[in-house]
Amino acid sequence: MNCEHAKDQLVDYLSRQLSDAEQAALTAHLAECADCRAELQATQRLWQNLGAVRPPEPSEHLRPEFYAMLASFKEEVKATPDYSLKGLWQWWLNLEIPRPILRAVYSLCLVAVGLIGGYWLNNKPAAPAGEQEQLATLSAQVKQMRQVMVLSLIDNPSATERLRAVSYTKDMSAPNGKVVSALLSTLDNDPNVNVRLATLEALAPLAADPTVRLGLVHSLPKQDSPLVQAALADVMVQLQERRSVQPLRQLLEQPNLDETVKDKIEQSIQTIQTGRPAAPQSSPRHDQTRTSAQPELAATLAV
């Protein structure tokens, strides 16, 4: 052991902090080193004198004050049962949580409240299912009303009103059987050419329905107006309806058939039979086939 190390250990030696082995080594060194012995003596004197530094006696008030405090504390403990709400609150107040953590927790809570609030407000308007139900029933009712209106208007003596009824059916997404049959009977029987044309226009998009197709085919021989005949022939070509060939032939046999219409029907029969779509030179659209319809047109205007 060298002197430096020994001097380092003197305080530890005096305060009895050394282990037995360390102490033995130090004593051995001290026995042979006069310098360190002197150092030890100086330190020892200091250490002993330090021990002699005595604090004053505490005053005689200390003891009674302590017992008074103890007594009042006992009262306090008795007053508050161990697991009361107040006790919990006290415990919470006494809990020593570092401030930064507390702040972080507070801010996290605030953010959470904001998120929950925002989420709640956002979802609220979509919530009431009852309103949507009401809306659905209302729209169903409106639909029904429209159908009733169409059915009653279509029997109206005024051609304008009947036209309006037919145009209403175009707005309907899926007219029911009643409306369809009313339209078909209008197509067959209506005295006004314009109304029949409009009806045909309303029925054409519904041709996917077999009853509509059949009705259209059956209505062919019943038409006497060249305008409607031509328009029906066009629709048949568009639908590629082979069942219509027979009634079209019958039409050709009618004695008073318009020449233009005759040509057109022959062309249509040919197109339907060959299965090819109408050639470019084929008929202009039915609303434009006015060429030889002068008397009919005059009749239309007179209505």
Binding site: S15, Q17, L46, G51, R54, P55, L62, R63, L70, F73
Partner: protein
């Protein structure tokens, strides 16, 4: 203390009888004022009652007590930051007398008085470890527990404190 924790608060009286002197001594050395130290002794014992559930039973009661005492001391210093932290050296010297110093010769008494002044002039950190190891006769390991540090750090601090004490002592003497 475990019995106090279990609800036998009266046992605290026993602990008071056994420990209030050393505790007072520690606080006195740290503060240099007798009246304030007495108040703080009360304060420490009150905290022991209040926070008795934090005493785990691991480690010694004494360690826990000084741990609390240091907290009380730190609170007190914080509260009185503007007030003078340590009493005048003259004031300290005045308190001397009686005890071992009186038995010894005049020369020794003088030495002790000077040493007391030197101790009062040390930084609180150094004074603390010296008081704990010399007056409370605590092992380094125990002191480390009180301060919340390692034994090695305590050892180094004690050595530095002794060194500082020596030089301060010689400065006063000359």
């Amino acid at each position: 203390m475990l019995r106090v924790k279990a609800g036998d608060v009266d046992r605290m009286g026993l602990l008071f009888e056994r420990y209030h002197r050393p505790l007072f001594g520690f606080l006195y050395h740290m503060l240099g004022r007798s009246d304030t130290s007495e108040d703080l002794v009360q304060n420490v014992f009150y905290r022991m009652l209040k926070y008795r559930h934090t005493f785990t039973g691991e480690g010694e009661f004494r360690t826990w007590m000084y741990h609390l005492a240091r907290n009380v001391l730190a609170d007190h210093v914080k509260k009185n930051r503007h007030a003078k932290h340590h009493a005048d050296v003259a004031d300290v010297a005045e308190h001397l007398g009686g005890g071992a110093a009186a038995d010894a010769g005049l020369e020794r008494a003088q030495e002790v008085a000077t040493l007391h002044q030197a101790l009062a002039r040390l930084s609180p950190e150094h004074r603390e470890v010296l008081v704990l190891s010399r007056f409370q006769e605590m092992k380094y390991g125990e002191i480390a527990q009180v301060l919340g540090t390692t034994e090695g750090a305590v050892k180094v601090r004690v050595h530095r404190a002794m060194h500082e004490l020596k030089s301060t002592y010689h400065r006063i003497e000359n």
